[in-house]
């Protein structure tokens, strides 16, 4: 466990774990030449980037409840060191996902852009994705220290609670992306919901130790 903790604390490990999923599509496209992927490679990339964004958003939101529920668990503490990095990567993947959507719909044809954006606003499913991306953009920008100081701790914290709204919207967007309900939405977001419920319930649970100290604003 100590080794895992040490590894997870390392910035290089965190970066590797965040970048590798983005490179994954290269494998079926250029190495195994999967004919199903090659039929429309960009669609595979599009869905994959959205999927990674959802996983990272759920992951970063799980960090705090993990620490609250298991305050002495080294792994939870190690993970919490990377909260900002993981959160910003969720935004980065969502941004790449949207860029891929633009490429997928319009190719290199810039004149198609207004129509694509108009459709994105008109279709609730697409609009929800766009709103999620906007929230993540605001959160990523304000994750800079200067904004924490400028907004003040309380307001900053309230603003960043929008991440929960983003997660709910992302879950809807992912569920609506396929013709039938894709089960991966459940295994990405249900564990997160359970962790959040446990975190809320913790002070009321009989076996629980004294209520946790207020969480520090920024992980050290």
């Amino acid at each position: 466990m100590a080794l895992l903790e040490k590894l997870l604390r390392a910035k290089a490990v965190a970066w590797t774990l965040l970048v590798l999923p983005g490179l994954w599509p290269l494998w079926p496209i250029f190495v195994t030449h999967n004919p199903s992927v090659l039929a429309d490679p960009l669609k595979f990339v599009l869905h994959h980037l959205g999927f990674v964004a959802c996983v990272l958003l759920a992951t970063v939101l799980a960090f705090t409840p993990l620490r609250v529920l298991f305050p002495k668990w080294g792994v939870a503490l190690a993970l919490n060191r990377h909260r900002r990095l993981v959160g910003v990567s969720a935004f980065a993947y969502a941004g790449l996902h949207f860029t891929t959507h633009l490429l997928y719909e319009g190719g290199a044809d810039l004149s198609a852009l207004p129509k694509i954006l108009q459709t994105a606003v008109e279709k609730p499913f697409q609009l929800v994705g766009l709103v999620t991306l906007t929230i993540l953009l605001v959160l990523a920008l304000t994750s800079l220290h200067v904004f924490v100081r400028w907004l003040g701790a309380k307001r900053w914290k309230n603003l960043h609670r929008l991440a929960y709204v983003a997660a709910a919207l992302a879950a809807y967007h992912q569920a609506a992306a396929r013709k039938v309900f894709p089960p991966q939405v459940l295994w990405i977001f249900v564990p997160l919901a359970l962790l959040e419920l446990l975190r809320i319930a913790k002070p009321f649970l009989p076996a629980s130790s004294p209520p946790p100290k207020p969480t520090p604003l920024r992980p050290s």
Partner: protein
């Protein structure tokens, strides 16, 4: 200057089926080499509907401007939820599925109800011909597929529909023991589709028993499936066991699943959007654009306006999507 206009039966070299597509598959070559079975026997054990091949090309349905989608893409990128919801699922999941022997039932309001082996049916239909059709999925992607089969009108004629028959209902096999997807509640099983009788007897409506001049692979709906090129792909009910003539419009599976998104008609229409995405354009599967792929404008009735528009005069296509 002398300009020679080609006759419509004159096909360019590009329209010819490439050798790799009509050559025996490696697996069957291998079986032959082993001497386990003759080619005919091996074919018989792999596919149910083997009657009628080699196919005759019907030049009237072979627009030289259409470039067929590579065989690999046509047989690896499939929506066949009975074998999994991902488009890469049906090929591996249906690989060992046995579709031989296969009996087709013709039933309902008709003068000649019958149960018939699929190969006997093909023989009665006068063998198979090849037509190259555009294929447009409701998910906004498209292919061009050389289908082998027979006109659905011939099957309807065989059934001898009674005067009160107005629709043709078609049903996929129900076999949850061997079809894993049917053990899950993804859709209502068995898959059902329907056509108005005048749609079913339109010259374009086709029953495919093959693609690219070979018996149709399981993942594409072996041994026989519907092809209605002016409609979205989900109308093309696969692995059909029953053709039933009925008086009332049958509820088709996707319409049951999401009535506000999928209608009965499902005619390709660039002006009527899906609630979640635009239908104005489509991705070209296996297109020339490499990794970035290519996109083209979607045509009214998928480019078959001339043949089918008359079927829908006076029908509000926005309401009857």
């Amino acid at each position: 200057m002398l300009i020679r206009s080609p006759k419509d039966w004159e096909l360019p070299d590009s329209a010819a089926t490439a050798e790799k597509f009509y050559r025996l598959s490696r697996r069957r070559d291998f079986l032959k080499t082993l001497g386990v079975a003759g080619a005919a026997l091996a074919t018989r054990s792999l596919f149910a509907a083997t009657a009628g091949f080699p196919t005759k090309v019907n030049a009237a349905y072979r627009d030289p401007a259409l470039k067929p989608t590579p065989y690999d893409a046509v047989t690896s990128y499939n929506n066949f939820y009975e074998f999994g919801t991902d488009k890469s699922d049906p090929k591996p999941n249906a690989a060992v599925w046995k579709t031989d022997p296969w009996t087709v039932e013709i039933a309902g309001l008709c003068g000649a109800p019958q149960k018939i082996d699929v190969n006997d049916l093909v023989a009665k239909m006068g063998g198979v011909e090849q037509r190259v059709y555009r294929h447009r999925c409701v998910e906004a992607w498209s292919m061009v597929i050389p289908w082998d089969g027979f006109p659905l009108a011939k099957l309807v004629a065989l059934a001898q529909p009674k005067a009160e028959a107005k629709y043709l209902k078609m049903t996929t096999v129900l076999d949850p023991k061997n079809i894993a997807g049917q053990r899950e509640g993804t859709l209502e099983w068995p898959y059902v589709e329907g056509l108005r009788l005048d749609e079913a007897t339109n010259e374009l409506a086709f029953i495919a028993t093959g693609i690219y001049g070979r018996p149709i692979p399981n993942q594409n709906g072996a041994p026989l499936r519907l092809v209605t090129p002016w409609k979205y792909g989900f109308k093309g009910v696969k692995s059909i066991v029953k053709f039933e003539l009925v008086a009332k419009q049958p509820r088709n599976t996707w319409n049951v699943m999401a009535p506000d998104e999928y209608g009965f008609y499902a005619n390709v229409n660039p002006k009527v959007d899906h609630p979640r995405w635009s239908q104005a354009s489509e991705r070209v599967i296996g297109g020339d654009g490499g990794v970035f792929g290519s996109r083209q404008r979607t045509l009214m009735f998928n480019g078959y306006e001339k043949q089918v528009a008359a079927l829908y005069t006076g029908l509000n296509l926005e309401k009857n999507y």
